[in-house]
């Protein structure tokens, strides 16, 4: 394997990891506060659509990216109201979000653009400014410029969330709300407030994840832009034991697996490509089977809090 192949593998891994990690971090935020969020897939889809639409119409990918975060928060707020205020079953509410996110996005694409695929939109830039990337041109390192600026952002977010969750008073309250909401309540901290903020944050993050798919990996939105990333992100969150750093490592693993399959495919057809493409999903399944049992799920995850109950 050549150096250029290795670099390709690195860039590919990071590229596939980024959207997963955005969404997985969203999952971590929501579930640590005690609200299950299996609606990540739908939120990502809606985010992907919004990013493509805004990036195309404003001509600015950054605006598209931000709009996707807001859109994610908007969609997930339905889940928040249902599961926090009305104590609905969070699995059902999350599933509804998945259908709603996909449905609305595809419908709006058709209504606005009259096709099933949105027109080509400006992409997020590389982490390397043009004048640096210029030097790579023609060298083995030229593929490095494929690393998106959002990839840098997501790894910075891992550090930020780690700091917030484990070093600050806010983190202490979030973790306690997910473990023992009644304890938090009796100390005068509002459980719904903590949970709303965390769920909204998860929507923003998953929205970013979707945006990365539509305006960085590709440059348009269609019904196949998001195909299972939200669920793989959920698996990564569980596999990573509900921590940002764990989610990061498992997303990198999934990203690596995915990229390996791409490389194998290029090298020639020893194994059927259809089989290879199953690898990340099989890995997800295996990870879940092996680790979900002895995982360290927040104790109150998925359980609505009723004041005065114990």
């Amino acid at each position: 394997m050549t150096i250029s192949n290795l670099i390709l593998l690195l860039v590919g891994t990071l590229t596939y990891t980024t959207p997963l990690l955005f969404a997985a971090l969203g999952g971590v935020m929501s579930e640590l506060s005690g609200v299950m969020n299996i609606g990540l897939e739908g939120v990502m889809t809606f985010g992907a659509f919004t990013a493509a639409a805004f990036s195309y119409s404003c001509g600015n990918p950054f605006l598209g990216f931000l709009a996707a975060g807001l859109a994610g928060a908007l969609l997930v707020s339905l889940h928040a109201v249902a599961s926090i205020t009305f104590r609905a079953d969070q699995t059902i509410s999350g599933t509804a979000i998945n259908f709603l996110g996909a449905g609305v996005s595809i419908l709006l694409t058709k209504k606005i653009f009259n096709t099933s695929t949105s027109p080509t939109a400006p992409k997020l830039p590389s982490i390397f400014p043009v004048w640096i990337a210029h030097y790579f041109e023609g060298t083995t390192f030229q593929t490095l410029k494929g690393i998106s600026i959002a990839t840098l952002l997501v790894f910075m977010l891992v550090c930020l969330l780690y700091f917030v969750l484990y070093k600050t008073s806010w983190g202490l309250r979030i973790l306690a709300t997910g473990e023992h909401p009644a304890a938090v309540d009796t100390l005068g901290v509002s459980v719904p407030k903590v949970r709303y903020l965390c769920v909204l944050a998860s929507g923003v993050l998953a929205g970013f994840g979707g945006a990365f798919m539509s305006i960085s990996v590709t440059s348009s939105f269609s019904n196949v832009t998001i195909c299972g990333q939200g669920f793989i992100a959920l698996a990564a969150m569980i596999f990573g034991k509900w921590t940002p750093q764990g989610a990061m490592l498992s997303c990198l693993l999934f990203g690596f697996a995915k990229e390996c399959t791409t490389l194998f495919e290029k090298e020639g057809g020893l194994i059927s490509s259809s089989l290879l493409e199953m690898l990340p999903y099989i890995l997800t399944l295996v990870a879940l089977i092996l680790f979900v049992g002895k995982s360290s799920m927040p104790k109150a995850d998925g359980i609505p809090y009723v004041k005065g109950s114990r």
Binding site: K167, T168, S169, L172, L175, H180, A182, A183, T186, V189
Partner: protein, 499 residues
């Protein structure tokens, strides 16, 4: 608190309650289960809001909308079920919600540990602030709860049944701590239904009965008997009336039993005893001396390492739970919420848990609801489970005493040879305790063998015919209940020798 009223739906839980506490006193709030004691205190702590009535603190009218407001008024509450995050350290739990921070919202763990240690030493409640709650004994966890309130500057401390979960040693230590706090000028309100503790540590006592009817008295002016009658609203017989035992053939025989716990530590170490039909054997001992593992081995919840357990002469160790039940063993388990009942199920469904497969309740796999409810209503009436017509009510809506009656009804209705009762009166009020004891003696008189395991020494003394004392995994002595006293058993329980 003046004219406090609270309704849950149509139920009037509190009716015109008046309650006042003087600074620096220890005040007991006495009442049966479901009398409304906890509700009243939850109102004072802002968890519930009263429907009617006013609260004054130091003569000033206050509106306590939330625990936050209660904390601002220097009220702290230690709940019966601890409000501690098990995966957090002591310091994290104590400062949660009012964290010490240094810039950027970062928690200053060093300072927190230092201040909490200082606070704990000030009040003589020393604690390791870096230890995790899940690694601590219940008594220490309670200490964390108390410190949590003190850390927030509480002047009034509400404790909801603080001794229910403590061992006798922990209770003594607890009483001492409370007296010290009162001497420092703290006001302590203690919800309880244990009369001896009211007498021993409280200055005043307020009795609540069915959400009303309050009397506040000086505890010195009344004896336990009088307090109990006020609480229940009728005369109670103290002690258990029973005829001498008439033991017959051996029902349970345990020989050289050795049982390990989950970590492979030998918890039951060579225990032998037998129980005959028509007698009650009480197993006395301080918690964690192997009683739990012994019972689990007999009921086949746990594998034995060696030794034998025979029911009616047939070995049953390391078989199945179904086999144990069909051999004629019934169990009133220690934790009625965890292993005695399915709290969301109805009373009828809970009563049927053991014979749900049998006709006429189930025919070709189809449950016959009418027959089941009929069966449950009969049992409920026989065992006086209240409220009446409770067959279809979820069991969690019942009071603790009535929940226990549901278990007892189920476990005695299949006419067992051996009835195992583990802590059968834990958390029950005097009226319900009296009832449970009566049933145990009744079962004995019907010729059943009864194994009673309890941490309450007085219960063992009152009910059992023979007492086996467990210490460190061994039965150190088996004595006749009539020929011994609490002192002797107490000595044996802590590893001392027989008189």
């Amino acid at each position: 608190m003046v004219d406090i009223q609270k309704n849950f739906g149509k139920n009037h839980v509190l009716k015109n309650i008046n309650f006042s506490v003087g600074k620096g006193t220890i005040h007991a709030l006495l009442g049966e289960n479901g009398a409304g004691k906890s509700t009243l205190m939850n109102i004072l702590y802002g968890i519930y809001k009263q429907d009617f009535g006013e609260i004054f603190i130091n003569g000033e009218l206050v509106e306590i909308k939330s625990p936050k407001v209660a904390i601002e008024h220097k009220i702290g509450m230690v709940h019966q079920h601890f409000m501690l995050v098990p995966t957090f350290t002591v310091a994290q739990n104590i400062m949660l919600g009012s964290e010490l921070t240094k810039g950027l919202g970062m928690v200053d763990f060093k300072k927190a540990n230092r201040e909490i240690s200082k606070l704990s030493e000030e009040y003589g409640l020393t604690i390791n602030t870096k230890k995790k709650i899940e690694d601590m004994a219940v008594g220490m966890q309670q200490r964390v709860e108390i410190l949590k309130a003190l850390y927030r500057g509480a002047e009034t401390l509400i404790l909801d049944e603080p001794t229910a979960v403590l061992t006798p040693q922990e209770i003594n230590k607890f009483m001492e701590n409370m007296r010290n706090l009162a001497r420092d000028g703290k006001t302590i309100i203690m919800i309880t239904h244990k009369l001896n503790e009211v007498k021993q540590m409280c200055d005043y006592c307020t009795v609540i009965r069915r959400g009303e009817n309050i009397i506040t008295v000086h505890t010195d002016d009344y004896n336990e008997q009088q307090l109990a009658s006020m609480m229940v609203g009728r005369e109670l017989t103290f002690g258990v009336e029973k005829k001498p035992a008439a033991p017959k053939e051996t029902k349970l025989e345990v020989q050289n039993l050795i049982v390990n716990d989950d970590r492979g530590i030998k918890r039951v170490n060579g225990v032998s005893f037998e129980i005959r039909a028509g007698e009650i054997l009480g197993v006395a001992g301080v918690d964690e001396n192997g009683q739990q593992e012994l019972v689990e081995a007999i009921t086949c919840l746990r594998k034995t390492t060696s030794g034998s357990i025979k029911i009616n002469g047939k070995e049953i160790q390391n078989t199945t739970i179904a086999n144990v039940i069909s051999s004629g063993v019934s169990t009133i388990p220690e934790d009625r919420h965890k292993s005695g009942l399915i709290m969301k199920f109805s009373v009828a469904e809970n009563m049927l848990l053991k014979n749900y497969k049998e006709r006429p309740f189930s025919k070709y796999g189809r449950m016959n609801k009418n027959k089941i409810n009929e069966f449950a209503s009969d049992l409920a009436q026989k065992f006086d489970v209240r409220p009446q017509d409770c067959a279809e009510l979820p069991v969690k809506k019942l009071s603790g005493g009535n929940q226990q009656k549901v278990i007892i009804a189920r476990e005695t209705s299949d006419n067992p040879d051996l009835l195992i009762a583990v802590q059968p009166t834990r958390g029950l009020d005097v009226g319900a305790i009296e009832y449970v004891h009566k049933i145990l003696v009744e079962q004995r008189d019907k010729g059943k063998a009864v194994l009673l395991v309890s941490l309450e020494l007085s219960e063992i003394m009152d009910v059992a015919d023979k007492i086996a004392v467990m210490y460190n995994g061994k039965i150190v002595a088996i004595v006749d209940a009539a020929a011994t006293d609490e002192d002797e058993i107490g000595m044996l329980m802590t590893g001392g020798s027989k008189k």
